[in-house]
């Protein structure tokens, strides 16, 4: 980029910002949250991810990076040439970056991963075109095959005995060759290429089977005298029919496959195409890929939320059921988060974009579901191992079958040998085996996503179906995770206000939900917190710090005893609180107990029903909590849990998981907090409640998008249904091949005189894969019970 260009670009950027800063009609944004200047100038450092078009060589990278670094406010610009993406860090508006890239001679837009909707449309178009091609190929082949087959069934004579018959069959042989070329070319080209690569696939079997039938028939026509009279039978109808039927099977399979990906299509369809961005005091509709971080977006009732953001103005109810499965709309007001793909039901709001493109929760969900759909559970490994050897083994069986007929078969042995070898090659279906697992995973994972359950991979899906024990964290999992202060029992000469002020000041540094309750309580009473020094969190026990020269200690009985605080005379009172399912905490000032503060965390409205549902399915439930034993007991009794472990340190949660695993249990762990992460990772399957922290979600195998424990029961139910479906598919595919191949080889002939017709083998092969896909599609009808 020349200096002139850089200068020009800077002018553009400056000009852009200047105009925006001086816009007279700014939107009415909540001034407490954003100053008007924030609206058009990014004040904070932001990382923008952009997709670059037109970069064709490595030198483009330095040119683009240089152009971006020259933009005012950019501190870092790094391009990934392989992915054609660039990450730009700085206090800068995304629009300025796009302008800079355009001036440098390229095009840019927000990185939306791989524009899902566009990819989906392309796929649908390509599948439709391929379906039409296969149907056309099928029609051509059956136009020849069906009349020939009817002739063979009605007249019964497909032999070559006279010169006129030779001429007729030669002509039909050429017509069959045309069918092989026009309708079956893809099989032969695929087979040839595979052979060249020293590999073999379905094409190899079809090409060999139909090729053998045609070649033998042409030998019969060309030099009948070489063969005994009884062996002068032609199989042109078999060649044409097999090609026609397999094309039909493939076409129907494409249709059925389309349905297996309906869930992901529905998720992709949730993405809005445009957003109404507030710019220059006006609302401007722009494509979604042009929405930048920190843009302000207006959403009216009935419209979709375009990107993730935070409400800055207005009040509304938002339907999040498409992502969480939670049917009730969620109330939103200034400060609340909104998620792309959800629908604004009632009011008009303005929100500021916090995550765009591939970073939105919806894009990440789509990505996660796609990845999981492509993964394979361990149950599919046997089919994979067999697939690797399948085709060559079938080829060997075909040769052995032909040899057996030639050695031991009745006359005409050659005909029996050719028919059996052809039928073995045609009936064998590696596709049914290959499709058995992935098709069910595709539908099952999609079905789970529809219920607000995100399954990370096939292994998690399989293991979830076998869970025998489920560990539930109490706070935030069984309970709402939003405790409230219920009692403040003063034990020294401090006022309630002073105690709350000091306790809240101390707890302001803690992320624990109980700490939040105290801070919120102080805030609600108009009590301001003070700065504390030397804040220290004592894992599983409490916190300590000093404030205004006072040494503060807040936590459980263990902490008080460790620090030598005298609490004996108040233990009974604390136990009374605990028996009421409240959590009593001790607060000491200057090494003397100043108060017992109790908080209560309400049980989620459907926890009792969901736990009963899990228990009904034979799952042992264990509750873990860092809370004291009496409170834990009270909560456990209320929700119908018999086993619980109280006063558990964070690291002990993982130990408890290991302990149960040693007992032979397959353990699921459900939690929502940072301290659950080790246990989630240690469990056979870790479940994160979607309302939990990012850390918990990252550590989990399965994420429940809504807070309800019904999601847990749904996840287990859908994984059981999917595994059952996979087993049906695998069983069907194995039995089909295990029974079909020997029958095709003629094992029934000595007992019943039965030898399979290659055309019937072709039909069976074509519809075996279709059966697997159709069975997988049955999962789409799955509905979680007892909801």
């Amino acid at each position: 980029m020349s200096d002139e260009q850089i200068n020009r670009e800077n002018e553009v950027t400056k000009s852009c910002c200047h105009n925006r800063n001086n816009t007279p009609n700014e939107p009415k944004i909540n001034k407490n949250i954003h100053s008007s200047s924030d609206i058009y100038t990014a004040q904070e450092t932001t990382i923008h991810h952009l997709m670059i078009e037109g970069a064709s060589c490595a030198s483009c990278v330095s040119k683009i990076e240089k152009a971006l670094r020259a933009v005012n406010g950019v501190t870092k610009a790094e391009m990934n040439f392989a992915q054609r993406t660039v990450s730009v860090t700085g206090s800068v508006q995304g629009a300025a970056l796009i302008t800079a890239i355009e001036i440098a001679g390229y095009r840019a837009k927000v990185d939306t991963s791989d524009s899902e909707q566009e990819a989906l449309d392309e796929k649908d178009k390509a599948d439709w075109a391929y379906y039409k091609k296969l149907m056309r190929d099928m029609t051509i082949a059956l136009l020849l095959g069906v009349p020939l087959m009817i002739y063979g069934l009605v007249i019964g004579e497909m032999t070559v005995n006279t010169n006129s018959e030779r001429l007729v069959w030669f002509t039909i042989g050429l017509a069959t060759l045309a069918v092989m070329y026009f309708s079956g070319k893809h099989f032969y080209v695929g087979a040839y290429n595979s052979l060249k690569n020293h590999s073999a696939n379905m094409d190899t079997l079809i090409a060999l089977g139909t090729g053998t039938a045609w070649l033998y028939s042409m030998v019969v026509v060309a030099v009948p005298e070489l063969l005994p009279t009884m062996a002068r039978h032609v199989y042109f109808e078999a060649t044409a029919m097999i090609i026609g039927l397999i094309n039909l099977g493939l076409a129907l399979e494409i249709k059925a496959r389309g349905k297996t990906s309906e869930a992901i299509k529905r998720l992709i369809g949730l993405q809005a195409k445009t957003a109404r961005v507030v710019r220059g005091g006006n609302d401007v509709d722009i494509p979604i890929e042009n929405v930048m971080l920190k843009d302000f977006i207006r959403v009216r009732p009935g419209e979709k939320i375009s990107v993730d953001g935070e409400v800055v103005e207005g009040h509304t109810a938002i339907d999040e059921s498409m992502l969480t499965g939670e049917p009730m709309p969620v109330e939103k007001q200034a400060g609340d988060k909104v998620v792309a793909g959800t629908i604004n039901k009632s009011g008009s709001i303005v929100f500021q974009a916090t995550r765009v493109g591939k970073d939105t929760a919806l894009a990440q969900i789509i990505n996660m579901v796609k990845k999981a759909q492509n993964s394979k559970p361990p149950i599919g490994r046997l089919a994979d191992a067999i697939s690797a050897y399948f085709v060559p083994v079938i080829m060997i069986i075909a040769v052995l079958s032909a040899l057996a007929w030639l050695n031991f078969g009745p006359s005409p042995a050659l005909v029996f040998a050719i028919v059996s070898a052809t039928t073995v090659l045609i009936i064998a279906c590696p596709c049914a085996l290959g499709l058995a697992t992935p098709m069910s995973v595709m539908v099952g994972v999609g079905k789970a996503a529809e219920a607000g359950v995100l399954i990370r991979n096939g292994e998690a899906l399989q293991t979830a179906s076998k869970i025998t024990t489920m560990i539930l964290d109490k706070t935030g999992t069984i309970t709402e995770g939003e405790p409230k202060v219920t009692d403040v029992l003063l034990t020294k000469n401090y006022s309630r206000k002073e105690v709350l002020m000091l306790a809240a000041s101390l707890e302001a540094g803690s992320e624990h939900p109980l700490a939040m309750a105290i801070v919120d309580s102080a805030k609600a009473q108009g009590i301001d917190t003070k700065k504390v020094d030397g804040f220290r969190s004592i894992a599983g026990k409490g916190v300590q710090a000093s404030c205004e020269g006072k040494a503060l200690l807040f936590g459980n009985e263990k902490l008080m005893k460790d620090k030598g605080i005298v609490i004996e005379q108040y233990i009974e009172k604390a136990q009374e609180f605990a028996q009421e399912a409240k959590t009593p905490m001790y607060f000491a000032i200057n090494n003397t107990l100043a108060a017992i503060i109790s908080v209560a965390d309400p049980i989620k409205s459907d926890s009792i029903a969901a736990i009963a549902r899990l228990q009904k399915n034979g799952i042992r439930i264990v509750m873990l909590t860092g809370d004291n034993r009496l409170t834990a007991q009270a909560i456990a009794q209320k929700v119908g849990i018999k086993e619980f472990v109280a006063e558990v340190m964070p690291e002990d949660k993982a130990n408890k998981v290991a302990e149960l695993q040693e007992e032979g249990e397959i353990v699921g762990m459900t939690g929502d907090g940072i301290n659950d992460a080790p246990a989630l990772a240690h469990a056979n399957v870790g479940f994160a409640i979607g309302t939990g922290t990012d850390v918990a979600i990252e550590s989990a195998d399965i994420t429940l998008m809504r807070g309800s424990l019904h999601g847990l029961a749904d996840a287990i139910a859908v994984s059981k249904a999917t595994l059952a479906n996979i087993k049906q598919n695998l069983f069907g595919a194995f039995i089909y091949n295990v029974a079909g191949v020997p029958i095709a080889a003629g094992v029934l002939f000595p007992f019943f005189g039965l030898l399979l017709n290659p055309v019937i083998a072709g039909a069976a092969m074509a519809f075996s894969s279709l059966t697997v896909v159709t069975n997988a599609n049955r999962l789409r009808l799955f509905k979680a019970k007892n909801h």
Binding site: A82, Q83, D114, A119, E122, K123, A126, D127, A129, Y130, K133, H186, V189, G190, A191, N193, S194, L195, K196, N197, H198, S199, A200, N201, M202, D203, E253, I254, R257, K370, K371, N374, S375, K376, D384, S387, A388, Y389, V391, P392, M395, I396, V399, L400, A402, L403, L406, N407, P430, C431, G434, L435, P438
Partner: protein, 117 residues
């Protein structure tokens, strides 16, 4: 019949040698770039050699309408990708120790091998 049986056994021997014993020659990565064409039932080239202990990128170009060719799996590396028709898709291979890793489509009809050397 003896000669027929010998010929039959010869064909079986040929199948075993061709599909299981023969070691295909690999195509090396040049200038850190390698492109694999997905067309007509196969990956071309099907055996790829990438340098050990350094990251590399393999570009797949799918020119085959068959839905089977749509997905690419490298199970050892836990890589699963969707190949869009007539579009290049870059697959990043992490730095690895020398070894051999199979890659294939969903149904294992398209097969290939990644040699890290």
């Amino acid at each position: 019949m003896l000669w027929v049986n010998i010929a039959g056994m010869g064909v079986i021997g040929l199948i075993i040698w061709w599909f299981w014993l023969y070691k295909s020659s690999s195509v090396d990565m040049s200038d850190g770039v390698i492109e694999v064409l997905v067309k007509d039932g196969v990956y071309q080239p099907a055996v790829i050699k990438v340098p050990a202990n350094q990251e590399s990128t393999i570009t797949f170009f799918r020119a085959d309408s068959s839905p089977c060719s749509e997905s690419l799996h490298i199970p050892d590396l836990e890589i699963a990708a969707t190949l869009r028709l007539n579009k290049k898709v870059d697959i990043s291979i992490p730095a690895m120790q020398p070894g051999r890793h199979a890659f294939h489509c969903q149904m294992k009809m398209y097969t290939g091998e990644l040699i890290v050397d």
